[in-house]
Symmetry: C3
């Protein structure tokens, strides 16, 4: 069973015929079929319902490493090209966590070329996913969630979600910011990003960072239920609508993509930032011991 | 008496003298005078208060047909040129409904020229009204409401309001979207438009789609009361402020007006969309029998 | 003790070393040191905490006169250049009020040159402060508050906050509007500005115009507490984040600064506006007698 998890509802290249067939087939009852699996991501597809479940499986905390990001993006692309798939539920195979966010070790002690490659992978993932649903945890996990259509979080005061970059001495890029502002509004986003806030589940619901809280054991069924509502809308109209809603934010990143990579590389390569990250990594290690 | 109705508060070309005269004359007590009436819209003006009441009267559901839209826009223009009028309350003469929204029959089985003419009339109405108050019902009714300054809805769980285009397999244009985002924020608008949600009265209040719920028999008096508060602000300052608040959204439509018409015509002329609308019309007919 | 007050948390040119030193020194315990004081503004700095307290002291109501604005901007600049200062709490030395807002006498019966000079001073103050915390009262007081990072208001039903320009027959400029929309959202801002609403403390909290209400005697300690949370985030990352959040609004004013001054001078010089302001001033005088 997935941990604290999340789900995603994507609308892509939908078979137009289906749109005219009335409501979609029921999601329940269909036997799951294993589709494909790599070292960090596992994908199952419920053929009847047209819904895939993607699980991150990179213990201990599903850090968004270059490897995981790349595998994630490729898996999503495969699903987009699969006509049997109309939506995807995003969750975790690691207990009690969706993802700890961007992998800090990819941003420390490496070459500028590596930083650039990593950041590009983050951008790719986001651009692919910025039409999908829930993550829960620091930074990258939250970013994945913000890209989804709907966010469900386990009702547990120990779980939290947010973009905590400033706590590490680094800065969320403008497109993280844009996605956050679109979700919780400008004022809440400003406070959230300046302080690097991690919201406990109940606060996350209040501020609008997640849409629903459910007991941990009901995450998957709740996601399936909401997904059914989403897929009851004609795919084509919903897809155009979604793309209209997100066009401005997507276009801004596309326009400044290279500058954003350069900016990241330059910032992260600074001695002061590298020292700051090293301290953070050491603190994390001490916590584990 | 009006049904589920709505009201609007417009600020236009105000006699500047009045602004300096202190608070406006009381709205109550003034005898109503019939101003003018056409087949689909009826307008009364309370001379003393400077407030007009516009009632849609196109049974069974006040569908926004080309005829109604044209008459509506002309009536609004007349009121703008009438120095005795400072505000307008928008409501319905048909019981239990403000408007069912855009008339689907205008979008089905007609020529491209007709589609273009119809869409232009929708744009005209919106541009005129995007300085006014409440509608309640699918699509067009909601659009009228979103263009107003304040929205009052009858407190009845059977009544609903929203932009349900996607449910019909069509897509709300960007200026519907802009007006909705301005009213309920980006996140709520995204969910609302993707799913084509129709909000029951209490949900509409919660999400901010309407500003106030009152018992059906008090719609008109509540509208009159709020209008008095609106007109207590100096017209000139209020008008400039309103235009500053809405400039960006209005300018975007003005800039892309022709492209928006072409886009609508092309989309609505597709075989798949025409089939989708036909199915919807047939379902509506079956419901009536 | 300060009255109804406010506080501000600024992030500027932070000594980078400090960012790497872990959490900031405790705010409590450090003895305050008088830094500098002019006729309208008094500044104290808690050396240990790196926090300055700025108090407006221009009885009876701390009107934002040309003199106060100029002194305020200069004081803020001094603090920015002071490496011992990392944040500033903004409050009032006049009991029961933070500020009554822009000084109307600066906008009435003077020369166009004076109006231009005054408006430029308002812009300067705003541009400097649009990285800082609470005001409470009509117009200018609210504008100062909107420029801060966090707003604390005394829990007293007699106190209110808002931008009431339209009530005076004048119009809030687009950058007041932008800051308000960023804080409370577009819909609430539209209603607020059109009607020139002054929100009682509890409503101000509800709409999001202030972040916290506390008993009057706890204003300063609450501000100190929140400031500690703010300063626990690495200065550098927080500062870049803040500037990213506010860049669009700041850039818009910078781009249209001269046109905005000309626009103000032309508007305020009109006979009708001057008469309107005179009436308002006379009403204020009568209230005092």
């Amino acid at each position: 069973m997935a941990g604290r998890a999340a789900w995603a509802c994507r609308a892509w290249r939908p078979p137009l015929r289906r749109r005219l067939d009335g409501p979609p087939r029921a999601l329940a009852g269909a036997p799951p079929r294993r589709l494909f699996s790599g070292p960090a991501v596992q994908v199952e597809l419920q053929e009847g319902a047209g819904v895939a479940v993607m699980k991150l499986k990179s213990p201990p905390v599903n850090s968004l490493s270059l490897e995981l990001l790349t595998e994630f993006t490729i898996s999503l692309e495969k699903l987009e090209n699969d006509k049997a798939c109309r939506g995807v539920i995003l969750t975790s195979a690691v207990p009690h966590i969706f993802s700890a966010g961007l992998d800090i070790t990819e941003m420390h002690g490496k070459s500028p070329e590596h930083y650039a490659e990593f950041w590009k992978a983050v951008q790719e993932m986001w651009l692919k996913l910025y039409k999908s649903s829930l993550g829960s945890s620091p930074a990258g996990g939250c970013l994945m969630a913000l890209s989804c259509d709907y966010r469900i979080m386990a009702e547990n005061p120990k779980y939290s979600i947010g973009l905590n970059e400033t706590q590490l001495g680094i800065v969320a890029p403008f497109w993280f910011k844009d996605a956050l502002v679109s979700t919780i509004g400008h004022r809440a986003a400003e406070q959230s990003l300046q302080l690097g806030l991690l919201y406990p589940a109940s606060d996350a619901l209040k501020v609008g960072l997640v849409d629903q809280l459910v007991p941990e054991e009901r995450l998957q069924s709740a996601a399936t239920q909401v997904m059914a509502q989403w897929l009851a809308t004609p795919d084509h109209a919903r897809q155009i609508t979604k793309s209209m809603m997100r066009k401005e934010v997507v276009d801004r990143l596309l326009k400044h993509r290279d500058a954003d990579i350069q900016n990241f590389v330059q910032f992260i390569s600074r001695d002061s930032i590298q020292k700051s990250l090293q301290m953070y990594i050491e603190r994390l290690k001490q916590r584990k011991t």
